[in-house]
């Protein structure tokens, strides 16, 4: 079972995020990491490949610096990576990203495409479905369990109340949730080995991408304004002298919250 895991480099979840006032694009000069949700997808792919054979390929769209996040996933155990990178891609929206990933996937061999459930910066959670649609493949998202029997996928899709179990033939596009597994930490051997693993970088021309569908100019949504709201201010703060609960209840009552 050959698996492609789509990964993204994102701004560290512990950093304050800012938009560039000129372009309204995310300021990515701060510390960047592998999208935390993608770690679950990488781990799931490695487990499936370990028990069923096959290779794990990473696919990433991003700036050249995204190789750092990719190396982390390679250090976890993925076999190789393809980074699609180029100035023309900057500013792509969810649909543009899905187009690029779908085109890149056409150049790869796979039985399964795995995604994390969303990125912690774009946060749309819409790319897996759009990629599945573009490839004409079945989609199952928000999965808390993935099993393979012969070439049939048996999965659990998380719901508020529990889960729905589905069956689906490979190839398919799946997205997995946090908690599906415990992502491994890269070992020292893994980290050293990652440096020697193949990491291909292709630009939009190499993939014959339609420039009308990529980048800021190809985006089908337009940002009109971005404002930073007045930050929340500290309200009343008291020491609990035994009447703390009473004071909270008074506050809730005064704001008609209970």
């Amino acid at each position: 079972m050959n698996i492609v895991v789509c990964v993204k480099q994102v701004v560290d979840t512990e950093a304050e995020k800012r938009l560039d006032p000129g372009t309204w694009r995310l300021d990515r000069s701060v510390n960047s990491i592998l999208n935390p949700y993608d770690e679950y997808a990488v781990e799931e792919a490695l487990r499936l490949a370990e028990s069923h054979g096959g290779e794990v390929t990473l696919l990433c769209m991003g700036p050249e610096t995204a190789t750092e996040a990719i190396r982390k996933a390679l250090a976890m155990g993925a076999d190789r990576a393809l980074l699609v990178s180029g100035d023309a891609l900057a500013g792509s929206d969810a649909q543009g990203t899905a187009y690029v990933l779908a085109e890149a996937l056409k150049s790869l061999e796979f039985d399964l495409v795995l995604f994390g459930s969303r990125s912690t910066d774009g946060e749309t959670g819409c790319v897996p479905a759009a990629v599945a649609e573009r490839l004409g493949l079945p989609l199952l998202s928000s999965l808390s369990k993935v099993e393979v029997r012969d070439s049939t996928l048996i999965v659990h899709r998380e719901t508020e109340q529990g889960y729905i179990a589905y069956e689906c033939p490979a190839p398919a596009v799946l997205s997995v949730v946090k908690g599906i597994n415990e992502p491994r930490y890269p070992s020292m051997k893994g980290i050293m080995g990652a440096k020697k693993k193949p990491l291909d970088v292709k630009d939009p021309t190499a993939l014959s991408l339609d420039t009308a569908q990529i980048g800021l100019s190809g985006a089908q949504t337009r940002v009109l304004s971005a404002t930073v709201p007045e930050p929340r201010k500290a309200g009343m703060k008291i020491e609990d002298d035994g009447a703390g609960a009473q004071r909270i209840a008074d506050f809730l009552a005064s704001e008609k919250l209970v």
């Binding site: 304050e16 109340q161 179990a165 949504t221 930073v228 020491e239």
Partner: protein, 329 residues
């Protein structure tokens, strides 16, 4: 947006009744419909669509398209996307609204990809200006508010639960059966089982009050004080990342950047320090109350009301106090 008119709401898949976010979307669509002309339509996919169609009618939908097919008794991305697309083709709307939920995002993304149009995700505001739709979206947990528009029609948006009010409205409603051709590739996914584990779990996204616990609870058992307060308030229970990572609570409960983004009327943070990543998931709550032992916890810098103290004495006392006041009133 040229000759397209009217607004289509794609009902959130569910059991037996329409989700609040669908009713909220219908209400907002009704308010906006005047600006673009045309009706407010709703498409409902269900085993028994009658009661859902009646509910949509009560909230003022002019047309309700119903799909009742054996292939769609349970959510499946392919056939449900086919149904939404059939409704889009039948109505040729200027705007299509989905729920910002796992199901809604799959459907919205699928439809947008088929139509080759953009996606406005997780919108909390919608305005019509000169016949165009402007969507408000809080980025990064609300630290930046972005106004966006789609460059081609129909505009497709996913609506955040609780972002809009819901109000019933009188009017005539046509209920129209919708015929759909299901694409074979979408029917490859087969439903094997529907399992209900969390009976009565209050949805975090739709809750008006959330009581949330952090590392200060000390253990999984510590959640019992949170649970009791939540029950007294009719609130949902939330958790911080530290608590989920420690295995005290399932990740479905996690609020924050790698969990859920919530904007309830009231968020009560118990033993939560208020890191940037937690704040990103809850800072758009209307009121924030915090209880924490550490007087320097960052949560106090943005809570409306903070109590420095031991949550194991404050929370049970608060539960009791609210119970007492409810009984007295």
């Amino acid at each position: 947006m040229n000759d397209k008119s009217g607004i289509l709401v794609v009902a959130e898949p569910g059991q037996g009744k329409l989700a609040n976010v669908t009713l909220e979307s219908i209400t907002r669509a009704r308010e906006l419909a005047g600006a673009v002309g045309g009706p407010v339509s709703v498409v409902v996919v269900a085993t028994e669509a009658g009661p859902l169609a009646a509910q949509a009618a009560r909230y003022g939908a002019g047309r309700v398209y119903v799909v009742e097919r054996p292939e769609t008794t349970v959510f499946r991305p392919g056939p449900y996307t086919d149904a939404a697309m059939a409704a889009i083709q039948a109505t040729d709307p200027a705007l299509v609204l989905f729920a910002n939920s796992p199901d809604g995002r799959d459907l919205a993304a699928g439809c947008a990809a088929r139509l080759g149009v953009g996606l406005l995700v997780d919108v909390t505001g919608l305005e019509a200006r000169d016949g165009r739709f402007i969507a408000t979206h809080p980025c990064f947990g609300g630290s930046v508010i972005v106004e966006k528009e789609a460059t081609a029609g129909p505009a497709i948006a996913t609506v955040r639960p609780s972002a809009f009010a819901r109000e019933e409205a009188a009017g005539d409603t046509d209920v129209i059966p919708l015929s759909v051709d299901f694409a074979p590739s979408g029917l490859l996914t087969k439903v094997v089982d529907v399992v209900v584990e969390n009976v009565g779990m209050v949805s975090l996204e739709e809750a008006s009050i959330i009581v949330s616990g952090g590392r200060g609870l000390g253990s999984a058992e510590g959640f019992s004080v949170i649970q009791a307060l939540a029950e007294e308030l009719g609130a949902a229970v939330g958790a911080s990342r530290a608590v989920v990572d420690a295995g005290w609570k399932h990740h479905q409960y996690q609020v924050g950047q790698t969990g859920k983004t919530v904007s309830p009327e009231l968020y009560i943070a118990c033993g939560i320090s208020g890191s940037i990543q937690h704040r990103a998931g809850m800072q758009t709550s209307r009121y924030i109350v915090a209880i924490n032992k550490d007087p320097d916890a960052p949560i106090f810098s943005f809570a409306d009301f903070g109590v420095v103290g031991d949550l194991f004495s404050v929370i049970p006392a608060l539960t009791e106090e609210i119970h007492r006041r409810k009984a007295a009133s």
